[in-house]
Amino acid sequence: MVLDTKYQRFRDEVREFATQVVAPKASHIDQTGEFSWDTAKEMGRMGLLGIPFPKKYGGAGLDHLSYAIAVEEISRVCGSTGVTLAAHVSLGCYPIYASGTEKQKRKFLPPLLKGDKIGSFGLTEPNAGSDAGATETTAELAGDEWIINGTKRFITSGAIADTMVITATQDRSKGVHGISAFIVEKGSPGFSPGREEEKLGLRGSITSELVFEDCRIPKENLLGQEYEGFKIFMQTLDGGRISIGAMALGIGQGALDASIEYAQNRVQFGKPLRKFQLIQRMIADMETEISAARHLVYHAAMLKDGGEVVTKEGAMAKLYASEACMRATSAAIQIHGCRGLTNAYPVERFFRDAKLTEIGEGTSEIMRIVIAREILGR
């Protein structure tokens, strides 16, 4: 794919940041589970936390292709930082930008897009994963406040977020059509971040519960119209999936980079690994699949930039990129042998990080249903 030179320059800029700032901390934050505030602040300063949003709200005024490139380049060295960026932009900020009133945008977006605040998105619940319509969290209007009750789970950046978009049902009997979306600020009475998850991968990103116990938020924090929550989160996920595709693409590329270097240098049976056909096979498959994934991800991003609905394309990009990423990270450890299982090399981290891309923001099974439905109809 030949990209305009402005994208090349942007990629170079992000790559330098990823190499200089993000990569040196990647193994440490994975092992300790620490969130790197320094990195988040620096991403804010560079404008990465507000890439695809207009400058008038404090954004960088760039497009979704640039955003995909940024997520890719950062994930290439650190999946945890990649998912933190993706969750902030696509899940925390985008729904406010797409569905908020002008007043809400003016109020909430500037600190988020400049990186002074972190955003997150509370959709998943203990009993509502793929079936997001099974949301049990409730919202009730009492005077000029909404009263929220319920628990969200597996929320990226949940415990550190300042501004959250959450879904809650106003009427369970209406299923998905009873759900509304709300903006909740940290410090709202009755809100507390719940326990943090111990995860397989992405351990340098924060995943936690959000607990609402008679949590009170102002009436004007309703996002969109009442009962529009389903539409809002489906639209949010359509875009979010492109960024998870970009993240998978980046992790896969990082695994390939490491494999190429190792195959050049490691000598067995008197020659470098790169001379063995079974190693060449793995490298060739990785390169081919990652290239295909990149095309799908960029294609979906470009369509979105053109104002198209990207339900099918976003799902295809995420589905293919995440599965390619899984194969690439497994092959990368394979090429490294036992050393690939130690944290002296990044590939075991990539392998653990990769699995989430098949699950988060819609499992591969949901992606297939979405794609099939777009082709076959409901």
């Binding site: 793929s130 998850e197 995860k199 190693i279 036992c338 392998f351 098949e358 499992t363």
Partner: protein, 382 residues
Amino acid sequence: MDFELTQDQKLIQDMVRRFAINELEPVAAEIDRTREFPWQNIKKMAELGLLGVIVPEQYGGAGLDFLSLALVIEEISKVCASTGVIVAVNNSLVAYPILNFGNGDQHKKYLPLLAKAEKIGAIGLTEPNAGSDVAAFESTAVLEGDHYRLNGTKRFITNGREAGVCIVFAYTDKSKGHRGMSAFVVEDGTPGFSKGEHEDLMGLRSTGNCELIFEDARVPKENLLGEEGQGFKIAMHTLDVSRIDIGAQAVGIAQGALDAAVKYAKERKAFGQSISEFQFIQGMLAEMATQIMAARLLVYHAAVVKDRGVPRFSKESSMAKWFASETCMNAVRMAVQVHGGYGYSKDYAVERFYRDAKVMEIYEGTSEIQKVVIARSLLQGT
């Protein structure tokens, strides 16, 4: 081929299954987190004969066959793969070569220790610059009077930190290539023998994996295993045997993952029904079960071939190991997938299975090496 298990085989399978559920499963997540070597359970298993399954009764073992050993490793690995490989290494990588290549004195001295887990065994073959290319190792042994002087470093040694009896490979005559390789039994406490840092690995974290370091280590002459120059033969034959157990371990992990996925699929509801009603989930469960059955049959077949005394079974053993390890990887991936976000958290065992599985495709010969062994066997008509 008929795999109707004998009464004895069924008995041991059933006993180990119960022991694994009662004793191993409750601590599996904890020892994964702490990297603690499960000595207490190893001692209990030794009382049941599991540390010397294939060791003759006269040396304190259970005196059973290799199919029984495969059944034991499979059942243990269903709940705790770390414990599975500890037992596998002690049996097939340490006790077996001593039994097969050692002399009467060595049998009497070491087999009871290993079978009763008074000492745990380890084997040192891999080195920093010699992984798949086994013969590229650099360790040397020089005979000086009644001792060999051993120098070199072995890496990624399962059971290493806890091992009291190690089989170590070194060149006694580098000029002869792999025919100059010899095997030694080295005891912990041997002057000049020390152990490296505990490796912090992605999976199989409780196996005491470390380097074995030999700096002018003085190994008694009588600790030579077999004859000088037999090392490569000992290593290759031993790996042919032990790969069956890695296959069994992979089948065990995969079955554990499938069991967890079936349980979760029945419990979890989405879109108003059990997720087990969805064809995607059914498809994954069916693929897992079919591949696991095929892998199990390959593993049992290889064990039976070995038990029948067929002299060469490299092909059968490599096919079992390669196919079972790939099956295992597919199974753990799908098991996490069935669990969704929950499978990505340490609250469910499949997260651990996922990390444990990957090494199945790497140790005791990578999948690439297994394929080369299989192909060579086909091309040479053996």
